[in-house]
Structure formats: C-alpha cells, structure tokens
Amino acid sequence: MIGIVDYGRGNLRSVEKALEKVGFEATIMASPTELNLVNGLILPGVGAFADAMQALRQGGWIEPLIRFARSGRPFLGICLGMQILFEVGEEHGEHAGLGLLAGRVVKFPPGRKVPHMGWNSLQLEQPSYLLEGIPNESYFYFVHSYYAEPGEKRDVAATSDYGVVFPAVVSKDNVWGAQFHPEKSSPWGLKLLTNFGKWVNENAALSGH
C-alpha cells in the first residue's frame, strides 16, 4: 500500500487515480498516525514552500516524515513535494525544508516566462530505478517557478533545461523527487509511477515493511 500525504496542498486525487491506473493501491492519509501502515509514501504539493512547510508542521507531519525516510521505505516527493525535501527554500524569504537532501530551492532568474509550465524533456544523468525503461528526451509536464540547486551532484538522476539546467529527478537512497507531475505526464509519467510502485512492493517483500 502506498500512502499519499494529505496536508491540504496538491491534487491528491490525480496521484491516487494514476497509481490505480497502473495497478497499485493507494490511500490518502490525513494524519501521520497512519504512516506505519504503508510501505511507500508520496508527498505531493502545489503552492508556496513556506505555506507547505507550515501546513506540514500544523498537521504534525515533519518528524514522522523524516522518520519514515530514515526507515528505508520508498519516499517520493512530487513538484513542491520534491522541493521541500531539500534543506532551504528561498520562496518569500528563507525557510527550512525537511533537509532529507542537501541543497536550496531558488527562483528562476529573469529572462523567461515564469512559471515554467508545460512539457519539457528529460536528460538522464545517472541510471536509476525510478527511470528504468524511460528513454532519454522523454517529455514530462512541469508547473513551477522555483527549482532545486542540489548540494550533491550525485543526487541528480535527471535534468531539464529551461534556460537554466535544473534537476528534474533527484534520488538519494530511498528518497526520490520529481519536479514534474508524473500523474499528469502520460505516458512516461505513468511508467515512472509503475517503477515506484514496483519498488515499493519489492522493498516491502525484502524488508518486511
């Protein structure tokens, strides 16, 4: 079972439907007490960095999410949900993120339309389980005004180019992030969610989670 974190931000239904479409059961979780019931976790999100962190804090999610990540179970952040995996966000001042990945989230420099909205292609930087079977230059749907500047280059699995080259997929051990919306990126986004779902099941079988 894959849990989807409901903290009042993001189109949870789309993520749930997309997982169902590719054959995985998902549950929308309104409270962190349910975290021990799931084998994998998706943290979605739209809106502003500080708002999202504030909502997570109010819901009592911060510590449980960090513990979940440390438990070794697969954890995928989507869009803003990926950005808050990092240490610091620079949206409307400096704000602390979950700190599961080293780096900062910064605004696109002037000279382009913001938000970066639409379909952009991926450059695969490193082999990764999440991107298995997904060809280089595949297109995914993005909507964001900020992007991550990772502290560790090896955490970047794929990049995209919007005048600046930025991380589109990040990965560190069991923690993953996609800057785009896989649930809205038919057909390759569904492939990515399939990979995630399989990984959740394999991990659960191996570790007993």
């Binding site: 809106g47 913001v114 938000p115 952009n120 993005f142 919007y162 649930e183 990126s185 038919s186």
Partner: protein, 254 residues
C-alpha cells in the same frame, strides 16, 4: 527545452461535446470523457472543457464529467464556463480538474482571480478572454459567450489579470472563431507581448499551417483547436509531425 502545446478544446453542453460556428449552431460531437481519453492516447498536451450549458442547474453534470475524466485522463485538463465563486472553483479542482478558466466572472468580479490564485495557486487560474476587433490594432473584451461588450481594452485587461495573479491566458478571437481562416495573429502577438504569462491562441484554426502560424507569428505558447480534431480532419499526431517539420519543438510520444 519547453515544447509548444497542442490543446484540443471540447465545448460541453448538457454533458455532450458540441461544436458551433461563431458561438451559435450547435452540432453533437460525442462523449467528453471518451474523447478526452482518446486525445490523451493520441498525444494531446492538455485538454480544455468549456461548459456552455446556459443554466447552472446542470453544473452537477459537469462535475461528473470532470470526475470521470480524472479517472481516465493523465494529462492536465482545464474546466471553464459558468464558474462564479471560489466554491465553484474548489469543486472542480476537487473533482480532479488541474486548472479552471474564468471569463465573464473574471470581468464582473476581478477579485475572484486574486482569491483563486491565493487559495489554489496561480498555476490553476486561467483567464479566458473573448476579443473582438474594434479598429486596427484594437480589441474589445466580450463576455456572456460573446454577447455582451464590456468596453474593456483587451491588452489592458490582459495586463490586469496578470497583476491579479492569473497563471495563463486563453485568448479567443470572436471574429475568427469557427471560420477556419486562421488565428488572428496580430491580436495573439499583441497579447503575448503585453504579458509574461503563457498565452493559448484560439479561434479560427482550419489547417495545420494555422497552428504553426499561431506559435511562430502569433508568438503563442500553445494552440487550441476543436473542430479540426473532433471531425478527424487531422490527428494530433499529424499536427505534431507537421509542426516538428516546421522546426517547432513539440512533445513526441517516444
């Protein structure tokens, strides 16, 4: 790099897709959910549903269309038509829409743009502008499905909606809508240059060449078309192949 988008538009009346000419004369063109799923498979980049049902009695029908679409369609889709309050917007987003489009209500209650952007994010607030030419290089905003002139200048209104927090503009030339003689390129370019938001060109497309012109001469970020796709004059794939040959970056499926 970011690709240009092709967006089929489905006008929905009482839960069925219809197509008219110059905002009148409706013809049935099928089931919205079936068509939407087909367009997703064919490689459409986004979809827009415009609910042209006159009364709000049938709003539940549209919510149901949205809910069913969200179960089968895995590209972004926008709902427009008759949304007047924050609660209307919330219902559509909850049912699974990615964005909503405001037209008449945006003009009548501009604060709705601001409140919507604040509550749900700019990325999901599209403002639809119906424009009619009044003089060379000048266009007026119309509302109520093109029946009511507002006295507002299109370029000024476009700048205003950007300042209020809109995330995108869907620009329809009423003079061209349904004519198949091509987008009004001068209008499209003028609006694209007046704002830094993505602009979707709409109204008048009849050939693949028109799509290319909208994206190049018109400087649009996306092109919307209805009848050329509904009646299978062209497939999405043919459209993309044509645009790619013209050197325009489009999303391929592989």
């Amino acid at each position: 790099m970011l690709s240009k988008r092709i967006i089929p538009c489905l006008d929905v009346h009482d839960g069925r897709v219809v197509k008219g000419t110059n905002f009148v004369q409706l013809r049935d063109a099928g089931d919205p959910v079936e068509l939407a799923a087909l367009y997703d498979q064919e490689g459409a980049d986004e979809l827009i549903f415009l609910d042209i049902t006159a009364s709000s009695d049938n709003r539940e029908t549209m919510v149901d269309v949205v809910r069913r679409t969200a179960e089968q369609v895995f590209i972004p889709f926008t709902i427009g038509g008759g949304l007047r309050t924050i609660e209307d917007i919330r219902r559509m987003l909850r049912a699974g829409a990615d964005k909503i489009a405001l037209n008449t209500s945006a003009v009548q209650t501009p604060r709705l743009i601001q409140e919507g952007a604040h509550a749900f994010g700019s990325q999901c607030i599209v403002v639809a502008i119906d424009a009619r030419s009044t003089a060379a290089g000048q266009w007026e905003v119309y509302i109520h499905g093109g029946r009511t002139a507002t006295g507002k200048d299109v370029l000024e209104w476009a700048a205003e909606v950007e300042a209020l927090g809109a995330g995108e503009i869907l620009l329809t030339s009423m003079d061209r809508d349904g004519t198949k003689i091509g987008y009004e390129l001068e209008l499209t370019r003028a609006v694209s240059r007046a704002v830094s938001l993505p602009v979707i060109a709409s109204g008048g497309v009849g050939t693949l060449e028109h799509l290319a012109e909208g994206l190049t001469v018109g400087e649009a970020d996306a092109v919307l078309a209805a009848s050329i796709f509904h009646y299978k004059e062209y497939s999405i794939e043919e459209a993309k192949r044509y645009l790619a040959q013209r050197g325009i970056l489009v999303r391929g499926l592989v």
